[in-house]
């Protein structure tokens, strides 16, 4: 371990030290996992983590400097892609020492892949209404139920599982957070085909799957607050996702391993740009279709551009307020809702421009099917990661301070509540 939280290095010294260490140790012919294990041990893989657990307790400014130095040297960092960082953040906050020591190393080296087992067919917006059950039997928990929309479940070896352990208390108080082994007979993973033809997610079926007692994260029946940590980190990971899009290149066996890993991780997200409506394609498409002078099309394009630009500016206002250390204004909560509006407006314009060809997909469709993919992917943006309706509720209640809807499901035993 290179440092102590009480005595932070100055940035220049830090950069020099990182570089010197890289010059001595970086070898592109090493195995990827072996390299990441070495890097993680120095604390420079995740310098913002606690010193006790692969980190150095650095503030984000110094942690970013280390990452920047590793990247500009051309070396590879620790594994950060996919759901693994959600698992890490949750374990760091709520996990036992034994759990941290068992799982964090494999997360950073990339050996272990994780998935998040929260959503269920019967509980989407109302996550706390989930019904996958965990029953304690002797020295283990027995899991039965079904999860859905699980990214990476088909290749993950661990899952963060939220399951019901007490049915006689109100819904939020009877949930427990587990780490479950995905590679066991009681776990069946099936791809879930979406309306746009891709199968980016999975359904996961638990039939008497086994979880040892020491795999409970946090308290028994205290899983809701643990899950909130995971969810709070989800937004940050979604923001970081854009960075994985580009594959870091270089010569040596280690880069081939990295490229394969990146391909696997990125695979489920390849239609995400289309989900956002691709407003960037609208003007070139209108010109190609000779509709760029059509007054109706022009009005639609102009409306879309106004929405898109004012959304970008609103995000900039939020970022600048944050940088200036000012309290977050309403502009910080609107990005997801604005993105839905932009995507829908873009899909409408693409339809109008495509004309009759809006009937066609694949090789027969405009842009080899890309336009069809846009039209068939946009409906996801107002659902995934919290529906627009839930966003509206959150904004109305937390930003505008409007009264909450009276609820009938929070102050009585879960078993008495009507459900799917």
């Amino acid at each position: 371990m290179a440092s102590n939280a009480a005595e932070l290095p100055d940035e220049q010294t830090l950069r020099t030290n990182v570089r010197m260490w890289l010059e001595r140790n970086w070898d592109p012919d090493r195995k990827l996992v072996e390299w990441r294990r070495m890097l993680a041990e120095t604390g420079w893989g995740c310098p913002e983590w606690p010193e006790e657990w692969f980190g150095l307790d650095y503030p984000s400014s110094l942690a970013n400097a280390v990452q920047d130095e590793i990247a500009s040297f051309g070396a590879i960092g620790v594994a950060r892609s996919g759901v693994r960082m959600l698992a890490a953040a949750t374990l760091l906050e709520h996990g036992s020492a034994a759990q941290k020591s068992q799982f964090l190393g494999g997360i950073l080296s990339g050996e272990d892949t994780w998935c998040q087992l929260f959503s269920e067919p019967g509980s989407g917006s109302d996550l706390a209404g989930l019904t996958t059950r965990a029953d304690k039997q002797g020295d283990h928990w027995r899991i039965n139920g079904q999860k859905v929309w699980t990214t990476s479940a088909h290749h993950a070896n661990y899952g963060m599982l939220l399951a019901r352990t007490d049915w006689d208390v109100p819904k939020h108080r009877g949930l427990t957070f587990f780490v479950v082994d995905m590679k066991q007979p009681g776990v069946e993973v099936r791809p879930l085909k979406q309306m746009n033809g891709y199968a980016s997610f999975n359904e996961v079926f638990f039939t008497d799957a086994i979880v040892p007692l020491d795999r409970v994260v946090g308290e028994r029946d205290g899983g809701w607050s643990v899950a909130l940590t995971t969810l709070a980190n989800e937004r940050r990971v979604a923001d970081g996702m854009r960075a994985w899009g580009s594959v870091q290149a270089g010569t040596g066996g280690i880069f081939e391993e990295l490229a394969a890993e990146t391909r696997t991780v990125n695979e489920p997200y390849k239609w995400y740009p289309q989900r956002a409506g691709r407003p960037d394609l609208v003007i070139s498409q209108a010109r190609a279709a000779d509709l760029d002078q059509d007054p109706v099309v022009r009005q639609a394009i102009a409306n879309l551009l106004i929405l898109e630009k004012s959304s970008q500016w609103t995000a900039r206002r939020a970022r600048e307020a944050h940088l200036l250390g000012r309290p977050q204004g309403p502009e910080g909560s609107l990005g997801k809702l604005a993105a839905s509006h932009v995507a829908r407006a873009a899909a409408e314009v693409h339809t109008m421009i495509a004309g009759g060809e809006a009937l066609l997909a694949g090789k027969d469709g405009p842009l080899d099917g890309l336009i069809a993919e846009i039209l068939l992917s946009v409906p996801a943006i107002s659902i995934a990661g919290g529906t627009d309706e839930i966003q509206h509720n959150i904004i109305a209640e937390r930003v505008l301070g409007m009264p909450k809807e009276p609820r009938t499901d929070v102050d009585r035993p879960f078993k008495d509540i009507p459900r799917n």
């Binding site: 003007i283 760029d292 007054p295 022009r298 009005q299 394009i301 102009a302 409306n303 551009l305 106004i306 929405l307 630009k309 004012s310 959304s311 500016w313 609103t314 900039r316 206002r317 970022r319 600048e320 307020a321 200036l324 000012r326 309403p330 502009e331 609107l334 809702l337 604005a338 509006h341 309706e389 966003q391 509206h392 509720n393 904004i395 109305a396 209640e397 930003v399 505008l400 301070g401 409007m402 009264p403 909450k404 809807e405 009276p406």
Partner: protein, 376 residues
């Protein structure tokens, strides 16, 4: 910075807001809108003396405060929020900007100090009924005899035209087209041949006049025939000032809607606890914030001489107008029956929203202008 206000600007906003709350409550607005002049001279005097808003964007050398477009936009947003009835917009903002943009040094020295000293009030006469304040479509021609000029023809939608002392008029050199030949003049409102009529308007808080010029004597402002781009820039700047006024009004409406929804009881609950109302309010917040971002961005572009300024002015005008009208209509809806009464204040904002939607060109026209500005 482009996406945040400085501490000083935030402080200035607070000062204007406090003044508006204390000095121009809605009872005051209702009283003043019933008068022909459309403003309260005593309030106007306080606005000038304590805040100096009438001379905010006029350079110090002409007796003004020397602030820029961003500060003027902040003032406009706050006045729009309070629906303040004052000659600020027609006189300082519209006519003052025209003199700043079109006038040569000696014109500015002549005309700006009386404005900055709040001794005289001006108005800007451009539109002839088209409603877009489009420089290219001006038809009024001036007549020149030696060094003297005169004007004949009709101008309309002149903001505060009936209460102004001097009218800034845009006309063109005979036989010219487009932006060529456009020339600014100053015409004394009391001069022979000037006939003003107060128009009956949807929005009582903004007085408009129709002005007939019949061989009225006019003084030249700026260089003859070269006022085309000054006119375009003047109106674009005024579109941005108006956009900021509009987002101030929209924000206030949203607050009124949320407050009302939090107190009105139906079916044993506040109506604000129903998702039908909450979702409407959240959606309004989204659009008001988007429109603010556009208005602030255009204000900055005005202040920095951004080459995209004209397109951004068009964008902000379209966005602010659509948002203000939508917010006003939804605020009436959220209020239900009471929202449709004269007694409730929402209609005052609704009418201001409708008048602002059309003033200087409607949203669809601006969307088209925006695309052309970007060579699309």
């Amino acid at each position: 910075m482009k996406f945040s206000f400085t501490e000083e600007q935030a402080l200035f906003r607070d000062i204007v807001r406090r003044f508006v709350v204390e000095q121009s409550p809605r009872e005051e607005v209702r009283k003043v809108m019933e008068t022909n002049a459309g403003y309260d001279p005593a309030l106007w005097q306080r606005l000038c003396e304590s805040l100096g808003l009438h001379a905010l964007h006029i350079p110090e050398k002409y007796g003004g405060q020397g602030f820029g477009a961003v500060e003027l936009c902040i003032a406009m947003e706050e006045l729009g929020r309070g629906l303040v009835c004052s000659p600020l917009f027609g006189s300082s903002v519209l006519a003052g900007t025209a003199i700043l943009e079109a006038g040569m040094a000696q014109d500015r020295e002549l005309w700006l100090p009386p404005l900055a000293a709040s001794e005289r009030r001006y108005a800007l006469a451009v539109d002839e009924g088209g409603g877009c304040w489009d420089a290219k479509s001006l038809t009024m021609q001036y007549t020149q005899q030696g060094d003297t000029y005169s004007l004949s023809g009709k101008k309309t939608f002149v903001v505060d035209g009936c209460s102004a002392d001097v009218i800034v008029v845009a006309a063109r050199e005979p036989e010219t087209k487009g932006l060529n030949g456009i020339t600014f003049f100053m015409v004394e409102a009391s001069a022979p041949g000037v006939n003003r009529r107060l128009l009956d308007t949807v929005d009582q808080t903004r007085k408009l006049a129709e002005i007939d010029f019949n061989n009225a004597s006019a003084k030249l402002l700026g260089t003859p025939g070269e006022g085309g781009s000054a006119l375009e820039r003047t109106i674009d700047l005024c579109r941005v000032y108006l956009s900021n006024e509009m987002v101030g009004g929209a924000q206030r409406l949203l607050e009124d809607a949320v407050t009302y929804a939090g107190t009105r009881l139906q079916f044993g609950r506040t109506i604000g606890s129903f998702q039908a109302i909450k979702h409407k309010c959240a959606d309004l917040l989204l659009h008001v914030e988007l429109a603010k971002s556009a208005a602030y961005c255009a204000a900055e572009a005005a202040a920095t001489g951004d080459p995209e300024f004209s397109a951004l002015a068009a964008l902000s005008k379209a966005m602010a107008a659509d948002t203000y009208v939508k917010t006003a209509a939804q605020t009436i809806q959220i209020h239900g029956g009471i929202g449709f009464t004269w007694e409730n204040d929402t209609h005052l904002y609704f009418k201001r929203a409708k008048s602002s939607e059309t003033l200087f060109g409607q949203p669809a026209w601006h969307r088209e202008r925006m695309l052309r500005g970007w060579q699309i």
